[in-house]
Every structure is written in C-alpha cells, then in structure tokens.
C-alpha cells in the first residue's frame, strides 16, 4: 500500500515534470521576435474633431460613411433590426439629446451629424465585456478582438451611443466587393469603428478623415502642437453625453473655422 506522503510526492514530481514539458512546448512556438513596426503612427491619446459646418449636405456624410464601410468590409443590410454601422448620420436631437429645447432654431434642428464610436476615456463597453474582447489600448483606442467575442452583447447594452452592431448572420453575402486587405466579421460577433488602427499601424490616416476633405481632423490629443489640439484651441466644441463621464475622444465643432467673428 502506498501511504499518503508517497502519493503526494509522486503527484508533485509528475506536476513539475509536466510543467517542464509544457514550458518546452511553449518555446517551440516562437522561433523569432516581434516588434512594433517603424512606420506605426504613435500617440498618447488618439482623438478626432469633426467640423460639422464643412459637411454641407447629408450626401457629404454619406460619402464619408460609404468610404469607411467599403474599406472595412462593413455589410450593407437595409433592415434597421440587423444593420451594421461604424459611422452614420443623426440629427441634432439624437446626437445631442441633452441639449434639446423647444426653442432650438429650425436650422439647428435640421442639422445632420456624423456619429461613430467615441473611443471613450472611460469606456462602459470595456468594463462590462466578460472576455476582454473589447479593450482599451494605451493610445486610447477602444479596440475589438473579434476572436474573443462571445456575442453576449453586454457591450451594446452598456454603450450610451449605440455605437456597436451585432452580426445576427454571416455578413459576407451583404458585402458587395470584399477588400482583401481587411478581414470581414462573422456571425455572432459585435463590431464597431476601430479608429482605423490597422491603417495607423501602416502610417496612414483614418479613411473617414481622408475622405472628408478636411472636415474630419484626426490626431494626438496629448500633444499640444497636434492639429486636433490646434482646432480645439481655436473653436468652441461639443462632445456627446459628457455628463455620463464616459469622456468621448470625438469632438464636434459647429460654427466653422472662425471666419466670421
């Protein structure tokens, strides 16, 4: 008969042995090194300023949204229950609900705003995600790791901006032409705007900023000399639902670049 001490000793040595084997297996996987690329755009805190006055017509917003959706393989599903949106347009009431008033001028009521994920400083979506599929990068981008998303949609319930969409079915049949440089998503995951992190990693600006002809300015909020900080210094701006404490990184300027004082 084996006594309890012997049994524990054998189990302990088996345990150490298998730990060593597993360690060895782990080593095999990484033959070489990985580093951040030299072209990667870096920032302390990525942010965006949207100059609404430069979007003259709703078509201007739709053009920018279409460019984003085309690049990122966002499916076009014409059914509000199932549609997928990264950037889209809303009127004043739905963009700045807390500023609604019956005395608002007709002009302001009619205004259209491009809206997207705000890449919040305190993102509610990140706090509730049980798998850390959505997480905050050190540069402020609230990113999605679709590999880990289990489709619970807690993040959708938590986001006060409706910035997230759920794939109820395979999105591929709804993508007109797949951009092979970018993965699609799959049934059962949540998706949203990424601030074009994969383009920043290649030294490029976000698609919407590029397509907007200067109406969307993108840059490092932590750098006082960055273009975003410059426009914020020179203009009055709004952010969506700041009273919730989410700390949006997307800023709206309404009046236009100070041409008439």
């Amino acid at each position: 008969m084996m006594n309890r001490r012997d049994f524990l000793k054998i189990m302990a040595s088996l345990g150490i042995g298998s730990a060593l084997v597993l360690e060895g297996i782990d080593r095999i996987g990484t033959a070489a090194d990985t580093i951040p690329g030299s072209k990667n755009l870096q920032a302390g805190h990525w942010g965006m300023v949207i100059d609404v006055s430069k979007f003259k017509t709703p078509e201007d917003i739709q053009r920018v949204a279409a460019a984003c959706h085309k690049y990122h393989n966002v499916p076009e599903i014409n059914d509000p229950q199932h549609e997928i949106k990264w950037i889209w347009q809303e009127d004043f009431e739905h963009t700045f609900a807390e500023l609604e008033s019956e005395y608002l001028s007709e002009k302001v009521k009619q205004m259209q705003f491009p809206v997207l994920c705000n890449h919040c400083e305190n993102p509610a979506c990140v706090r509730v995600c049980p798998t850390q599929a959505t997480f905050k990068r050190p540069d402020g981008i609230v990113a999605m790791d679709y590999h880990r998303c289990i489709g619970c949609r807690y993040c959708m319930a938590a986001c006060p901006y409706g910035a997230r969409s759920f794939n109820f079915f395979d999105p591929r049949p709804y993508i007109e032409e797949i951009n092979s440089a970018v993965p699609t998503r799959t049934k059962g995951v949540v998706e949203k705007c990424t601030f074009c992190m994969e383009r920043l990693d290649k030294g490029q600006q976000p698609v919407c900023a590029e397509a907007s002809g200067g109406a969307i300015i993108f840059g490092d909020l932590s750098d006082p000399d960055s273009p975003v900080r410059k426009v914020l210094r020179d203009n009055f701006f709004l952010r969506r639902k700041v009273e919730l404490g989410t700390g949006p990184s997307v800023y709206y300027i309404i009046g236009g670049g100070g041409s008439n004082a």
């Binding site: 990484t30 540069d139 790791d145 092979s180």
Partner: protein, 131 residues
C-alpha cells in the same frame, strides 16, 4: 474457477476484433498524402522561393505561430515579425500569408481536409481570395 469461461473468452476476442477493425481493414492501403500546390502568381514571381520560416517549421508550427501573431498584432500592437533569418514581415494572415498562398483549396484546405481539421480562420479571413 471461472463459469462460462469459454463464452467469455470468445466474447472478449470478438470484442477486441471489432474495436480494432479499422486497423485491420485499412492495413496496407495508406491514404494518398495531400498534394500541396505552390503554383500561385505571387510565388511564381519570387526569385527565391522561401516562406517566412523553413518549410519544416511552417508545416509543424503554423497554427501556433498564427495563434501568437493574433494576440501580438491585435492586443499588443506588435505589427512586425522578425524571422529567424533576420527578415521582417508584416504580421497579417490576409496581407502576408494569403498574398502568396492565394490558392486556398490547393494549399490550405488540401492538408486541413486530409488531417480532418476545420479551422475557423476562414470565417473572417481570406474572404477576398477564391475558396
């Protein structure tokens, strides 16, 4: 003493034969190993036909490598892989691997089908190349 010993032993032998049947039935008729094709436009253009690591390494370790790449590029912001020969490659299944291996059915699927694995990479990646 064993009662009904003969029946029990016959039963055991039959049982052993049945559960090892796949081995007896397949003896001497090995399945054809898969044909792996490297005939793609980009590979044909290469002056030196080499992958990011040796073929042996890629054959045995590509699932682990892709697993590591996934976390490194998505979660850790590391976008460049330095191979053991010192060359640098962009970490990307779509923009690095599938640029050369654009023939999914003759390359990837050939082996995956043979070994009966069904990776779900394809649900999102490789949507732009032919099946």
């Amino acid at each position: 003493m064993m009662y009904n010993g003969g029946k029990i032993i016959t039963g055991l032998i039959i049982f052993a034969l049945i559960i090892t049947a796949p081995f007896w039935l397949n003896i001497g008729q090995a399945d054809e190993p898969p044909e792996i094709s490297l005939d793609t436009p980009v590979i044909n253009q290469l002056s030196e036909k080499e992958c990011i690591e040796s073929a042996e390494f890629m054959r045995s370790q590509h699932p682990q490598l892709l697993n590591d790449w996934r976390d490194q590029v998505v979660r850790e912001g590391k976008t460049v892989y330095t191979s053991s020969s010192g060359k640098e490659y962009q970490i990307s299944l779509d923009n690095t691997c599938l640029q050369c291996h654009s023939n999914r059915s003759e390359f990837c699927d050939a082996c995956h089908a043979y070994t009966s694995v069904d990776p779900y990479c394809w649900d999102c990646h490789g949507g732009g190349i032919a099946k």
